[in-house]
Symmetry: C2
Subunit: 261 residues, 2 copies
């Protein structure tokens, strides 16, 4: 089942995706819902980020090759995590599929994509176990953890390197029927494929993170966990289009513009 | 004017504090509102955290003496910020006045208070200037940035050192009539005063942060910025009561319990 979020007569609303059709619902997948009588064409409807979370969690360094590549790029020694320790991103930066990634005028040319699996939490939970952790996940979507590498190197925090407005594209929808072991992530820049990796080949997987996090913290419906990316990333520039595809989920596509260009 | 948040017949609701009386409103201070006909006694009403933010910002190291004290405590060199770079905390950890701070069973005894001024944003804004920045602030409240120092030292992120459930007491209300230069912060443990400092003697002030942040990010109504703390902090243990007072705003008081104690 696929859950998209749309602007329905001025109000954000959830809709079921069935083939090329959107069926708006009353309620939400995080509580109770029922189909409305209306239908819309998927191709003609603007999709919003599929959820605005109470808390926006992100793994950071969670694939071995990417840790080495980023460390080389920002001039620090590679430092593979030894525990699943979660970090944060910020809601201001979220945009939906098709929305432009806007590079600030004072950014360097080192603005790069990071294609990521996103786990969306479906229910309030704490003290999850390895056995029941995946049952707390409503479904999965796709995120692009856009990063300005010079700021990531120079700043104490990631407030502008990763959380500048528009730096967190997400979508196109939440897919509830996912087998994590089968997923493959691909990133394309202007149609040229750059990266392909087994999505679940993480240093620490979804279960590892949910168990470790909920030892100390309560997760709420709509919270989401961005699971990190693999491999080397390339720069994106004004006029580019960046696509992140995860098999069985969909394609997240966003154009890139530079302020003042 | 003072804005408290209460549980009104099962729904979180804003209320105006007038002396010892609470007057619930329809709407909220972030949009339009009107007084209801009802009244409640402040002393007999449970107060909620005065806001649940879309994004929870926090300054971290923002007072010179505290930077030196914490660096000594976690065995790292002191590193005073040279730019106002904002960090993040998480909504799961928020509790209201009077709610217990719950120390996890596996925490060390180095669980410490940090008494902080909190600026609550009143309107959507970007590209604030030094002249108009304070006009985007609805008002100010008090936060206690509870921190487990051994985890703060050992972990890559602050997911458990600062964001364990109950580690972010906030309240008692949002005060809209505040003159920043006049504020004094005091912290008391079991009635004994430990710290007193001029709240506004920050490395970077509220205006500095709001201008620097909104160069890159949009702030939304209800977003909040915790401004950091001064001085050395002491451990809190099961049975303690921690109070943070900021003159002209109020007193935030929370008991401390340890899991399994």
């Amino acid at each position: 089942m696929r859950w998209a979020r749309i602007d329905h007569a001025g109000t954000p609303s959830y809709a079921i995706v069935e083939g090329e059709t959107l069926i708006p619902v009353r309620g939400s997948p995080f509580a109770t819902w029922e189909r409305t009588g209306s239908h819309m064409k998927l191709a003609e409807t603007k999709l919003l980020p599929p959820v605005i979370p109470p808390t926006f969690y992100a793994c950071g360094m969670n694939y071995a090759e990417h840790v080495r590549a980023v460390a080389a790029k920002i001039g620090q020694p590679p430092n593979l995590p030894t525990h699943p320790e979660i970090g944060y991103r910020a809601n201001n930066a979220l945009i939906g599929p098709g929305d432009p990634i806007v590079i600030p005028a004072d950014a360097t040319d080192k603005v790069q994509y990071e294609g990521e699996l996103v786990a969306v939490i479906g229910r309030k939970c704490k003290h999850l176990t390895r056995e029941n952790a995946l049952g707390a996940v409503l479904g999965y979507t796709i995120g692009n953890d856009v990063s300005e590498r010079s700021w990531q190197k120079s700043d104490r925090t990631m407030f502008r390197s990763k959380n500048t407005d528009t730096f967190k594209p997400m979508g196109p929808w939440i897919e509830t029927d996912v087998k994590l072991e089968d997923l493959v992530t691909k990133v394309r820049l202007n149609g040229r494929q750059i990266i392909e990796f087994h999505t679940n080949h993480m240093v620490f997987g979804v279960v590892d993170f949910l168990v470790a996090m909920t030892k100390y913290l309560t997760l709420y419906p709509g919270d989401m966990v961005w699971m990190g990316t693999e491999g080397e990333c390339e720069n994106m520039k004004h006029g580019d289009v960046c696509e992140v595809e995860i098999s069985g989920i969909g394609v997240l596509s966003n154009p890139v513009v530079r302020e003042g260009a």
